[in-house]
């Protein structure tokens, strides 16, 4: 019974990670906020599960489900890093376009305010 319970918990965590993946795929600020709520919940559930794990050691069904959770997590992480890389690199590109390069060769900082619009 305990094994079934753990497997259901793993499945629930995995479902949450897959939900986070969908939000991260959308990648809008709102979707990212939603992803962080889901990830928070998944992390809590996973932490609660830890105390019950030793009794499941060596259970192949539990291990298989744990691997599924791990794969779903890796997918989630890849999507988050990819979105982060997109925005991070764009910030650098924009910095270089608008502010040139610093003395150390880094792109200049992006200035969000006090822009001047020149018109001929």
């Amino acid at each position: 019974m305990a094994a079934a319970g753990s497997i259901e918990d793993f499945a629930s965590v995995r479902a949450q990670l897959e939900c986070a993946c969908r939000h991260l795929t959308l990648a809008s600020p709102v979707a990212l906020d939603q992803a962080s709520e889901v990830l928070n919940s998944a992390a809590r559930q996973m932490a609660e599960l830890q105390s019950r794990l030793p009794e499941q050691a060596g259970n192949p069904a539990a291990l298989e489900e744990a691997w599924r959770v791990r794969r779903a997590f890796l997918r989630t992480r890849t999507l988050l890093y990819s979105a982060a890389a997109f925005h991070g690199n764009w910030t650098r590109v924009r910095g270089a376009i608008s502010g040139g390069y610093t003395r150390t060769g880094e792109p200049g900082p992006v200035l969000y305010a006090s822009r001047l619009c020149l018109q001929a």
């Binding site: 932490a47 599960l49 890796l74 988050l80 990819s82 979105a83 925005h87």
Partner: protein, 480 residues
């Protein structure tokens, strides 16, 4: 009266300006489904308003501006290249995996098990002609199974070669189109939204085949490089790539009669095979020159299937020829059962057969020892199923296990590719979403997005760190 006229002129200018905006909007709606089209917008400029000075105010339409963000476009193309690679790996490895049955019910493992059973039955009734005939029949089935698998993999290698040539043709066709578009742009049409849509749709298509980097020039043309360094298109010139079979010579080949490898050449004849690792072409080259070659051989390796066929045939022949058909005097030695092309180590599996001249009474039964064992040869052969001594093993494992490792490698390659393909699908969808988000966004809106994202990213990455530790420690605890 003068003021009234000025007002009328101002109103007319304003109507004209809004007319331009409406035309642009209408054009955007009409092209909503046009591949590669990015929305355009007309900027409106406020005119000075000073009635006493004669400035009547109002608005005037400015230039058309494209909402395309080249950075976001490049990100989509990059993920498209990844998708092309993973999809092709799955497509190519799926039929390969079907050649490797791990259930033991068909193909090489089934034929081997049947032969091992026939050795055991022969050991029980060593002088029974039917048992000996079964051994000959089953040995023939083993040879056929090796031949069929080698031929099927050979067909896949040929298919991969054909696909590589077709993919190269597709690349050349698309780069030719891009060179034509560049020519149109260079003739003074660089701001044509339709042309830009065609260029971007073509680039997106091209990116699924090969890894490309693009740079848009001030003259409106686009330069396209493959693998970051090989020119494909510069201004209105196309640089064609080509593909063909080749036998590497440096270092000199260990197996000169092996199946040739596939090579991709740039327009100046340089070998760019090793650098071509992205897109469908990268995957096809990897499958053809790495995955398939590891099974059926190339200039520097015999291929696992050939190694297995050769070692198995040699071991069976060795046991049979070490035995005696009769005690004599003089004792009559056994004859080898399997034959294969000994001149080419990379063609053993496909040439493996049972010597048709061998008859049932030529199968040696007696192990002269010491100790002398009347049914020692079939007993020794049946040991091949669960080998104890090193001579009965291949690379330290049984023949079935060796085959299992080969099949497992193909299966795990496919499994990895399938997982990566699923992730890549999400990454491509994400890149397209991000492109849409940045399309038509003003700098101020964009700044808001970046700030919001930064905050959300920090929140998410905290949970990611925690989940990384928790999911890994879970596996560590559960693993036996």
């Amino acid at each position: 009266m003068a003021n009234l006229l000025a007002s009328l002129i101002s109103s007319a200018d304003t109507l004209q300006a809004y007319g331009s905006v409406l035309e642009t909007a209408q054009n955007n709606v009409s092209n909503a489904s046009t591949p590669g089209y990015a929305k355009q917008r007309t900027s409106l400029y406020a005119l000075p308003f000073d009635p006493e000075g004669g400035a009547t105010g109002g608005v005037r339409a400015g230039d058309l501006q494209s909402s395309r963000n080249e950075y976001a476009e490049q990100a989509v193309r990059q993920q498209n290249t990844g998708m092309g690679y993973e999809q092709q790996m799955v497509d190519s490895l799926t039929p390969l995996q079907s050649q490797f049955d791990v259930s033991g019910n068909q193909g090489i493992p089934a034929a081997l098990n049947n032969l091992f059973e026939s050795f055991s039955a022969w050991a029980t009734t060593p002088n029974n002609d039917a048992s000996r005939q079964t051994v000959l029949d089953r040995a023939g089935q083993v040879a056929s199974a090796f031949q069929q698998t080698a031929n099927a993999i050979g067909v896949q290698a040929t298919n991969a070669e054909q696909q590589i040539r077709q993919t190269v043709d597709q690349v050349n066709q698309l780069t030719s189109q891009l060179a034509n578009y560049n020519q149109i742009a260079l003739q003074g049409n660089k701001d044509d939204a339709g042309l830009s849509a065609q260029v971007h749709a073509t680039l997106e298509q091209l990116s699924q085949y090969v890894d490309i980097t693009t740079s848009f020039q001030d003259d409106g043309s686009v330069s396209v490089l493959m693998n970051g360094e090989t020119p494909l298109v510069i201004e209105d010139k196309q640089y064609r790539i080509s593909a063909g079979l080749y036998q590497p010579q440096d270092p000199p080949p260990t197996y000169p009669n092996s199946p040739a490898s596939m090579q991709v050449l740039s327009s100046d004849g340089s070998d760019i095979t090793a650098k071509t690792t992205g897109g469908q072409l990268g995957a096809l080259l990897e499958v053809r020159n790495q995955s398939l070659a590891s099974l059926i051989g190339d200039a520097y390796q015999p291929g696992d299937l050939n190694t297995m066929a050769e070692q198995f045939a040699d071991r069976v022949n060795q046991v049979l020829t070490a035995g005696n058909i009769s005690d004599g005097p003089p004792p009559v030695s056994g004859v080898p059962l399997f034959t294969y092309d000994t001149t080419n180590d990379t063609a053993v599996a496909q040439s493996l057969s049972v010597d048709p001249s061998v008859t049932t009474d030529q199968l040696a039964t007696i192990d002269p020892g010491p100790p002398y064992v009347s049914n020692g040869v079939p007993l020794g052969l049946s040991q091949l199923a669960t080998p104890v001594q090193d001579a009965d093993k291949i690379n330290g494992v049984s023949y079935n296990q060796y085959y299992g490792q080969m099949a497992g490698r193909v299966g795990s390659q496919l499994d990895d590719a399938t997982n990566r393909q699923q992730v890549q699908q999400s990454l491509l969808a994400q890149a397209k979403e991000l492109r849409d988000q940045y399309s038509g966004v003003s700098l101020d809106e964009e700044a808001t997005i970046l700030i919001q994202f930064q905050r959300a990213y920090q929140a998410n990455s905290r949970f990611i760190t925690v989940l990384d530790q928790l999911t890994q420690s879970t596996i560590d605890i559960l693993q036996p």
